[in-house]
Amino acid sequence: MARKMSPSKQAFALALCVTAMLAVLPNRWLQPWTTDLAGIVNLPLTPFEDAGGRIKAWLRPIDDPIAGETEQVQKLIEDRDETLALYRAAQLKIDLLQEEIGQLQDAVRFHRGVTVTPIIAQVTGRSPGRAGGLLRLKAGTREGVVPGTVAVYRGVHIIGRITDDVGRLGSKLLPMTDRASGWVAGIVLSADDVAASVADAPHVDLYPQGDGTLTGEIERARDVHKGDVVQLSDYSWPDAAQGMMIGEIESISTKDDDPLRNLVVVRPHYLAADLNSVTLKIEQIELTQGGGEK
């Protein structure tokens, strides 16, 4: 006579069948409730993740090229980079408006009625078992974080964007170098010629390779060199990100199947996987008395 399974084994068999079924369900059936369930499960981990992140920052600080400088020099470098980025963002906006409506705007702080509040967000965790992937940040809707908020480091170096998974206390950051981030458009500028006009700068569409670099194609006739910087010029990104640094050209090679175009490899100065904190640029749209945007 066959032995009857114990209740514990029956329950395990049922749990296994349910799990196997869930493993093959379509994404749209899983997405709403598994995110909520993950939030509940990860809630008890959050305070420990924060402490763990601080311990990790102490044990393994990031390799920052300007960390060895004095605080005053670091501040000067950050201010210089931020001013350059704002200047180039303003130039891009001016060119766009001149082309669209033929008008000039203020070029110093050009956010089209949008002011930006930066907040520091601690990186509290990453997906286990993955080399990169989404980062968990200790900042959420309570601080004004919304899906699409831009994350930068040292003021101007783009790290990525916040995903749609934003809670009250935490959010998820999709690094720009993650393949899920998709295409990003930029302009190539010489690192030495800070007064170079963005109107003549070559444009390049970059795609993340997943190994910390982005690659794109550029016409061979354009004058680009190794070491040139690539700055964001992509209006699918928020206004606060325009003109920010994507990275530096690491190598240029000729495309075998199209000799008239070069393949450029761009490497960001800072990778999301190495960081312990990022700066989120929270946009606050200013309304006029009539209710429209300024």
Binding site: S6, S8, K9, F12, L16, T19, A20, L22, A23, V24, P26, N27, R28, L30, Q31, T34, T35, L37, A38, V41, N42, P44, L45, F48, E49, G52, G53, I55, K56, L59, R60, T124, G125, R126, S127, P128, G129, R130, A131, G132, G133, L134, R136, P147, G148, R161, I162, T163, D164, D165, K172, L174, D178, R179, A180, S181, G182, G210, D211, A273
Partner: protein, 191 residues
């Protein structure tokens, strides 16, 4: 088994898995503390208890793994790690009667086997899910082959780290209160 002590150890393992393990990464290859804990339980606990514990650990890992679907959309898949851990536990359960279960080296070696077995199921499910027509599932940083190799080396790293961590876990054996069918003695064995 003391499920309260298991909960505490699972919490510690998850904190390490999500955050602190980055401190010891080598070229983005990280050990899995959860795999070491699951291996120890698979070696020491009664069969059904070990399977339940591994299912729970795998489920926690699934709910902690943020996957990108398309641009800026996140998804938590239940199944890859859960089924992977259950499968790996089953493999260890078949082999545990042939090894010295309380030795740190055994825990390390079996962790390598556990992590590799779990990886096979996890990667297979991710590959199958990436074929779904709803949109690409970004589970690998670069190519599938590179990701499999990275996870393979992570399994080896987990096996190496399993030796010192397994030594600590072996010392904590009385706290786990594993039930056995035989009276404790020199030749303790679990079926």
């Amino acid at each position: 088994m003391s499920w309260a002590f298991f909960a505490i150890c699972a919490l510690i393992a998850m904190v390490f898995e999500v955050g602190l393990v980055d401190t010891v990464h080598i070229l983005h290859i990280k050990p899995s503390v959860c795999a070491i804990l699951a291996t120890f339980i698979a070696l020491s606990a009664p069969r059904i208890t070990a399977l339940w514990a591994c299912l729970i650990l795998g489920l926690l890992l699934d709910l902690s793994t943020d996957l990108s679907v398309g641009i800026a959309r996140t998804l938590h898949l239940i199944g890859p790690h859960t089924l992977g851990y259950v499968f790996a536990c089953y493999i260890v359960l078949q082999m545990r009667s042939t090894v010295f279960r309380r030795r740190a080296l055994t825990i390390g070696a079996m962790t390598l086997l556990f992590a590799f077995s779990a990886m096979v199921i996890t990667v297979t499910l991710y590959i199958v899910r990436s074929w779904y027509p709803e949109g690409p599932l970004y589970w690998a940083e670069t190519s599938t082959f590179n990701e499999i190799m990275r996870r393979f080396f992570s399994a080896i790293y987990s096996g190496i780290m399993g030796v010192p961590i397994g030594w600590v876990l072996a010392r904590s054996l009385p706290l786990w209160q594993f039930q056995t069918n035989l009276i404790r003695g020199r030749g303790v064995a679990w079926r």
